[in-house]
Symmetry: C2
Subunit: 246 residues, 2 copies
Amino acid sequence: MLNKNQIKFIKSLQLKKYRKESGFFVVEGYKSILEVINSDFQIEQIYVTREMYQKFKKELDKNKVEIISKSDLEKISNFQSSDSGLAIVKQKENKILEIKEDKIVLALDDINDPGNLGTIIRLADWYGIKKIICSKETAEFYNNKVINASMGSFTRIEIYYTDLVEFFAKQKIPLLGAFMQGENVHTFKFPKSGILLMGNEAGGINKNLEKFITEKISIPSFSKTESLNVAMATGIILDNWKRSLN
Amino acid sequence: MLNKNQIKFIKSLQLKKYRKESGFFVVEGYKSILEVINSDFQIEQIYVTREMYQKFKKELDKNKVEIISKSDLEKISNFQSSDSGLAIVKQKENKILEIKEDKIVLALDDINDPGNLGTIIRLADWYGIKKIICSKETAEFYNNKVINASMGSFTRIEIYYTDLVEFFAKQKIPLLGAFMQGENVHTFKFPKSGILLMGNEAGGINKNLEKFITEKISIPSFSKTESLNVAMATGIILDNWKRSLN
């Protein structure tokens, strides 16, 4: 059974302030917990229901596991209903990422919505992108909405928060920026590698980054609709880029 | 000022039961309200703040408009914060849609999540798709989450809920089904027109529909990720289809 202090501590991790202070974050649901077990993240503690423990004993026993009741799990869960478990995981350091010249890398300029960031992480993973560079105003990677929306893909992506102006100033590979007006991605000749920069949900790419952009690209519309969701646009552009390399 | 009965009635439209009984639904936010004014939907009543009224007097005055206070608006709104307005709109009949042979049409098999349906409507609109056929278990078009996620695109899409088995039995154009295993959309030769069938978020396309499918297609993955969100997959397939027609 969980005591009051444990419950208080785990629930405090729903807030950025306490995630920052403690250096931990929360992973929920059996699929994501199994993915984090198989990743290079360090697990501090796993809480699971007896049912989940019996199903995944082999995987779980490699870790510090405590069996708790469903009602205890509900007390600590972010989910509306939860019947599997919750893991407390150590955050990774915000380490500078080396950009290799033969890879596609994603850069995010102030993507504020955690659900969008999580979806983009899942997408990046689908298209084999390993590294994401984020502006400092982009949603926090360890926010539980990001982790949940990424559907386990957060374990396979490296992320680095930095000042994008300083970062881009040092890069020498093509920087493609997604705009409402730009080269049509259906006909654009994508480079073999480079960085794809996606802008904020409402305001797009910040003006002070435009000078670093080597190509402006856009997704053609076949109607008078104003915009696509930024995660959707990221998916469609990555799909166009990857198919162009075949 | 709104009286208690008005507030009760408008709030009741948050529930499917009362939407069905009354035949009305709710549209919120100034962009969506302006779109619905410019559409062929019949508006029953618009409630706006004085600020929104002054900004969009010309458009609003063609309709039955009442100016209400921000606190009244908050009482009737589905939004966490709302400062523009809310419209009560008449639902359209669930009329059978004629499928023309030269068009791309979307069919949805039990898309349960209203956010997904709304996003798919927005996407369909972007790619110039005008008609969506839905299984009866698909989320309700007039759910406020669907309307909100569609970002006004619901005004430009015709939708028809029906038994897909009966519907497909009568069609003679190609029916493309999205599967985990199928022809790679990057190399698949898309027909000039046809129906794209997308399956349920968890279970995919129902077994009893498979016999109608003329081509199984899939989006190539570049990692070991299990799946893409269904709205994302719809966007990427439509993008591949539309670019193949140029």
